[in-house]
Each structure stands twice: as C-alpha cells, then as structure tokens.
Amino acid sequence: MKNIDLKGTYDRIVRIRLLKNFEIITDTIGGILFGPSKVTPGAPHIVDSIEIKRFMSAAIIALIPSTAAAIYFWGFAAIKIIIVSYVAGGITEVLFAFIRKKEIEEGFLVTGLIFPLTLPPSTPLWVVAVGVIFGTIFGKELFGGTGRNIFNPALVGRIFITIGFPEIMTTSWIAPLSDTITSATPLVVYKSSQVMPPFLDLLLGTTAGSMGETFRVGIILGGLFLMFIRITNWRIPIVYLLTVFVMSLLGNTILPAKIAPPAFQLLSGGLLFGAMFMATDPVTSPFTKTGKVVFGILAGIFTILIRAFSGFTEGVMFSIVLMNGFTPLIDHIVVSSKYRLEKNER
C-alpha cells in the first residue's frame, strides 16, 4: 500500500509543467522505481518475471569481480574512467532517446561498463569519452538502437580509438598496483621474446593489461554465473575457447616461434573477457544453435591468426567484430538449410 502512495506522489510530481518536457527521463526513472503498471491484455494471462532491466542487471552483477579488481589494481584512475564512460555514453543515449522520442533503453548499462574495462588503465579521459560516444552512435544508434545493431557497440568504440590513437593505446599500460608505465603486456612480451609469465600471475591479474581483463578468476566466475542463470548461452564461449585451445595446440607444434602454447593463449589478453562478455551479446551473435557453434569456431581461428601473424598483438576484439559482421549470414544459412532439410525428410 505504501508503495502505491509513493507511485502516486511520483506521478503528481512529474505532472508539473516544467517536467513535462523531460517525459522521457521521468518515465525512465518511474520505470526503474516502480515497474510497469500494465497488465496482460488476455491469454497468456501470466508472464515470466524476467525483464530487460533484470537481464542487463545480471550482466552487471557478473562484471562485478572484474570491476572490483580493476579498482583494486588501479584505484581512482579506474573509477574515473568508468564514470566518464557512463556519463559521456549516457548523455549520448539520452540525446538519442529525445531524438527518437522513446524511452531510454537499458542496454547501455552493460556497454557503459564493458567499454572502460577493455581500456588500458592510463587511457586519457577524453579518449574514453570519444570512444564511448563513437561506439554508442556508430555501433548502435545509427542502426536503430538496441536490438537492431550489427556490431557490439563497446567493441566499435574500442576499435575506433585503437586505430585512431595508436600511440596512446599501445603505451598506456600500467602494471597493477604500481605507477610504472610499461608498454609490455604478456602478449607483447611473447611476440618479441617468447617469454611467458607464471600462469598464477595471469589468473590473479598481477600482469599488465586492460582494466577488466587481468583478473581472470573473476572473469571465469562471472562468465559461468551468466551461463548458469541462462542469460548467456554456453555454446559461444565454450566453443570459442575450445577452438583457441585446439588451434594453438596444433599451431604451437608446427610453428612454436609464432604461435604460443594453448594455456598461455587462453590466459592472456582479452580472450576470456571477450569470450564471456562480448561474444555472448545476444543481439550481435547468431541466434541459431548451430550458428553459435560456427561463430565460436571462426572467432577462435581468427583470434589465433591475428595474434600470430598480424601487426597487432591482440586479436580478440577484431575477430569478435568480424564475426559480428558475419552473424546475419551465418543465421541465414543455418535457418534456410534447417528448414529445407526438414522439408526433404518428410
């Protein structure tokens, strides 16, 4: 009963003329606070309790270990980057909501956190803002918003600043719990001298790397949590990681100078973070089960190829974005062959 009165009060407040112009914002806040006041129009008379807000919140919960580790390792610098990402991206999102005259969508909550976690810890704040704004506009809004985007918005932003500001993005690494600027992530070190750090350091995150990618125990836990509660499907991350394992096992026996051994491949760079949190984005990955497997295999192959043979040391974001581009084609082929096959069977 108390809640209903609260809602009534809120509804009276937002009816003030001044706030009328900001209906999109007040509606969004109202939605967050009080939930929908709509009931089912007919059969089915009941519906599942899951909603997009909760769906996205679950992803945020899964990112807590990585975020907490980033803040622990890099302190206030990490907090500043995350805040700038949310504020700059949030403003972009709200502006587009006004242009489109629709409510603000929840998908940004996840993008706004995943993006800073893929950045080097000493990235200048203006670069963070440029990246997240670019990613939101060109990764999502231009396609029509959440659900219609082809590429993962966080990765679009990340790739834009990687290519746009190469000096900044390759020299902004800081070893955890120190102020020493270094340009040497484990992948860079391996590429030049084939030296690997101890695997325990890789798992616990005490090596240099992007903010969210180093504490790998937390990433694995978060990823398993998402699969367990059915927010993400196991097929993409598991197949992706398995492919990387198999490919690097083969590659390392044939070309040990170029291709690192499997355990190092799995535990270095953004692979785990990308496989668990970015490749699994339902909007930009195939919806068919076979398609998910194909996606995982190809992403794994591209990751190994880019890491071994390209000028870049890390291939995860490129391979995921590349596969995002292939997603509609994969789904189309799987769907049409599925229905054609079954037609012939009968």
């Binding site: 009080f34 709509k38 009941i46 659900g147 339902p282 919806f287």
Partner: protein, 497 residues
C-alpha cells in the same frame, strides 16, 4: 503394461505455484439459474427443441442436431425455460438457453435400457450419444450417430490423459478416490467395446507411481493397454504434443486427432463415459478445479454444467481484484461477464489477482516468489510457492534475440524469426516454410519473452495474413499426411477440451 522412457523435452515446466487446488472434492448445490450453451465441446451448434416457458427435467434433451456433426445438449436442472440469449463464448458466439431451477437435485435417466454389458453395440452407442459424453475430447467420441468426423471403426488409438500440465498441475487425482480406479477401468472397457480395434494409452504424472500401478493392474484385462509415466511439461496435454511423444508419429498441425484415427480424452471424460454407460446418467455435472490465490479455498468442486460464474464469485476473497479465467492460464478464456456459464469441457476456473503495480525496484529484488525461465530469481533455488498475477513485470522493449522463445517452443518454430517478419510486414510464403502453421497458440513464447513482446499474437497475425493469401494448413500441412474424414469436416479446428 507400463512403458517408461517417453519424454517431451521442449515446452515449459510449471510447478509449485500458490493457488493449486487441494485434493479435496466439495459438492455444491443446485444453482438457481443455469445458462446452457447450444454448442458445447466438439460439434456444431444444435437447435433448441424446447420453447420459452416449457418445464424441463435435469437430463432432458433441450437441443439436438440430427443431420449435423453434433451431440445433444441437456437441461442440467429441473425447472422452466426462461429465455434464449446469445453468448460470446469459448468458441465464438453461440445461442444459449436460460433455465430457472426449482431447486430439486434429481435427474432423469438417459434411456430405460438395462446394464450396459447387455446392450447391443448400437444401443450402447445411442446411450453414450444421448447422454452427451460423445462431445468430449477435442474431436468427440465417434458413434454411428455422427458425433465425430470419423466412425468408431476408424479409431486406432485412444489416449487418456491423466497428466496435468497446466500451471497448477491439476491432475484430478481426486477423481480416483472412492473406487475411481475401477470406474476408469470400466469406462475404458465401454470405449473398447464400441471401438474394438483401438489400442488404449494412458498417461500419468511420474510422481504418482502408486496410482499408475493401481490403474495398470485394474486394467490388466484390457488388450494392448499401455500406461506412460511422464514428467509434466506444458503443453503436453495438447494433442499436437502428446501424440508425437507417445506414438512417435508426426502430427498434422491444424487438424484434429480424429483425422489420424486417434481419440484423446482426459480422465474425467472417461469417468463420464462410465457414468453414462453404467449408471445411465446424462452429462449434467462436472468436477472443476478452483485455482488461484483469488479463491478463499483452492479445491475441486462439482458443479452443474451451465452454472454461471457468479455462482463461484462468493468463494473469492473480498477486496481482491481478480480476473476469472476458464481452463489454462496460458491459453484460457477471460470471463468478464459474470453470467457466462461453464460448459461440459471446462476443467478449471482460476481467480487470478489483477496487479496494476509492478513493485518498488522490482527488477533488483531477490525474487523469492517469481517464476522465470531464466534462473535470475532466488525462487529458482528455494522450495517456496511462487505467486502469480497479471502484471507484465516489465516494459516492452525491442527483441534482443535471447532465444528463450525458441528454447520453449513445443513445435520447433523459431518464434522471434516469425515475429520479425510479421512486424516488418514481410508475410510471404517463406513463413510457411518456417513452419508457422505448426503453431498451436500455446502462448509460451509470449510467456518467456524478457522484452514483453506478444510474440504469439504476431504469429497468429502472420497465420491470418497467409490465410488471406490462400496459404493455409491445407496447402502446407495436408499434402504430407493421409487423413481420415477430411472431406466430411470443415472449420472445426477451434474446439478445445
């Protein structure tokens, strides 16, 4: 013979909700007024054989259709015919007879013959036909009097559904008290004697093995009888799902089980067959489950057919805003007019709380009582009873391709794929290839959608548009099957039981 190992893995398992009926049967008295629809269960609407002001007895036939596929309709009380009216009801508009009761509880026999075992086959069929039970099941029980689209000799399988896969898992095991197992066995024998060629299959909930053994023993004398312990998963009660599950044969979606030579009945229908044959009793009352938190007590009750919803309205908690739903909460009919009656096929009435208010910061609550396909609520891990209401629990958002609708679809459609096509107005022949006509409107896709999109409505819209273009079941599904009685039937696909 008990056959285990049959499994249906798609669909959705509803279990442990507040408001499930206790296994207790309460008789209720004779209502002061009944409204008898002239179309009940399978068959065409019959024409009234009485006039306003006539005195009728309970069990007296008040409507019959000689030349149509139909079964007679009875008065269910002793009294006088007050009026005729048109109801907007389960299967569309239908005429109904309003009868004022004199309050007496007796009823007249179907015919004056003796024990059913003494009767000739024709006399037994006539007794079943006149008693009204032949309208039960989605395609009726065949007799030589035209109660179904096929004849009794065409029936190859009889499936008896003892499993409750609706939201409350109402298994009606209350019917098995007081000698119910024997009555079910007798009912099966009656069916067997008019359809001697048919094999009998009975499904039960796996959790009640004792009952399965009892029934299997009681029916050991019946040739070719098989019992199937199954795990309850919605919508297993649908013919489209149960026939492929236990008989391993494809179902002609959009057609009736009778077209395959299969009759699907629920346990209560077989009990009615027993009563009709053995006790000479017309189908005038019905055991109905009173479900949902809105009722003061959740239990089974025996009600006269034609009894109006306002008759059970007193059993609802005061000050609670409820929605009355006939049968399943996913597919059922909303009863907004309290003078609407329950008919022969009604299994349950649910008083579902209407809930306008979503709850303060609900999306972030632990969710001790929330049901979900995902495991994002604590309720998935604890044995508390989950609550039900009509709230949407979220705002409508764009589809994010989470794939839940495909996970649960019982007939192998990718619902969101069809939704996207229909939404963008791309309704063409390829939707038929996506098997849109497999859809049997179970509404599960709408249930699980986190974006609150009415997916099933879009699928229905797509089907309707295709039909306008001349593409329908007869061009898509029919060519793959050899169906019985197809030239006799038309447009009787909407019947339910």
């Amino acid at each position: 013979m008990i056959v285990s190992g049959k499994r249906f893995t798609k669909g959705y398992s509803f279990h442990h909700f507040e408001g499930a009926p206790e296994e207790r049967l309460v008789e209720s008295g004779v209502p002061s007024e009944v409204v008898i629809p002239l179309q009940q269960g399978f068959g065409d609407e019959v024409s009234a054989t009485i006039k306003k002001g006539d005195t009728v007895k309970a069990g007296q036939i008040i409507g019959a259709g000689e030349d149509t596929v139909s079964t007679p309709v009875h008065s269910t009380v002793n009294g006088t015919v007050e009026d005729f009216r048109v109801l907007s009801y389960l299967q569309g508009d239908t005429n109904a007879v309003v009868i004022r009761s004199d309050g007496s509880a007796d009823w007249q026999l179907v015919d004056d013959g003796g024990a059913w075992t003494e009767l000739s086959e024709e006399a037994l069929e006539r007794r079943l036909y006149l008693s009204g039970v032949t309208s039960l099941g989605r395609s009726g029980i065949p007799t030589r009097f035209g109660s179904s689209i096929i004849g009794p000799e065409d029936v190859e399988h009889i499936i008896i559904q003892g499993i409750g896969t609706d939201v409350f898992n109402t298994t009606f095991s209350v019917l098995f008290e007081n000698d119910g197992v024997r009555r079910l066995a007798e009912g099966v024998k009656v069916l067997k004697s008019i359809m001697p060629k048919a094999a009998v299959h009975i499904t039960f909930d796996k959790s009640d093995m004792l009952l399965i053994k009892q029934v299997d023993e009681a029916m050991s004398g019946i040739d070719g009888l098989r019992s199937y312990p199954l795990k309850a998963r919605f919508p297993q009660e649908c013919d489209e799902v149960i026939i492929p599950t236990i008989l391993n044969r494809p179902y002609p979606y959009g057609y009736l089980p009778a077209h395959l030579g299969i009759i699907v009945l629920n346990v209560q229908a077989v009990m009615h067959v027993f009563e009709a044959a053995s006790e000479n009793k017309p189908l005038i009352d019905r055991v109905v489950a009173l479900c949902g938190r809105g009722f003061k007590e959740n239990r089974y009750t025996s009600l006269r057919v034609g009894c109006q919803i306002q008759y059970v309205q007193d059993l609802v908690k005061e000050e609670m805003d409820v929605r009355f739903v006939f049968n399943n909460l996913l597919t059922g009919f909303t009863c907004t007019d309290m003078t609407l009656p329950l008919d022969r096929t009604c299994n349950s009435i649910t008083a579902l709380p209407e809930r306008q208010f979503g709850g303060f910061m609900n999306f972030a609550s632990p969710g001790f009582k929330n049901d979900s396909h995902t495991k994002t609520f604590v309720a998935s891990f604890i044995p508390f009873e989950k609550s039900l209401d009509t709230n949407l629990h979220g705002e409508e958002r764009p589809c994010i391709f989470c794939g839940y609708c495909e996970d649960v679809c019982p007939v192998g459609i990718i619902p969101h794929l069809i939704y996207h096509n229909v939404e963008r107005d791309k309704v063409e022949e390829h939707l038929a290839a996506y098997r849109i006509f497999n859809c049997m409107d179970c509404n599960l896709c709408t249930y699980v959608c986190p974006s609150k999109i009415p997916v099933a409505s879009y699928v229905r819209e797509g089907k309707d548009k295709l039909r306008e273009m001349g593409i329908d079941e007869s061009t898509v599904i029919l060519p793959d099957f050899q169906l019985k009685g197809i030239e006799m039937s038309n447009a009787t696909d909407e019947d339910t039981d």
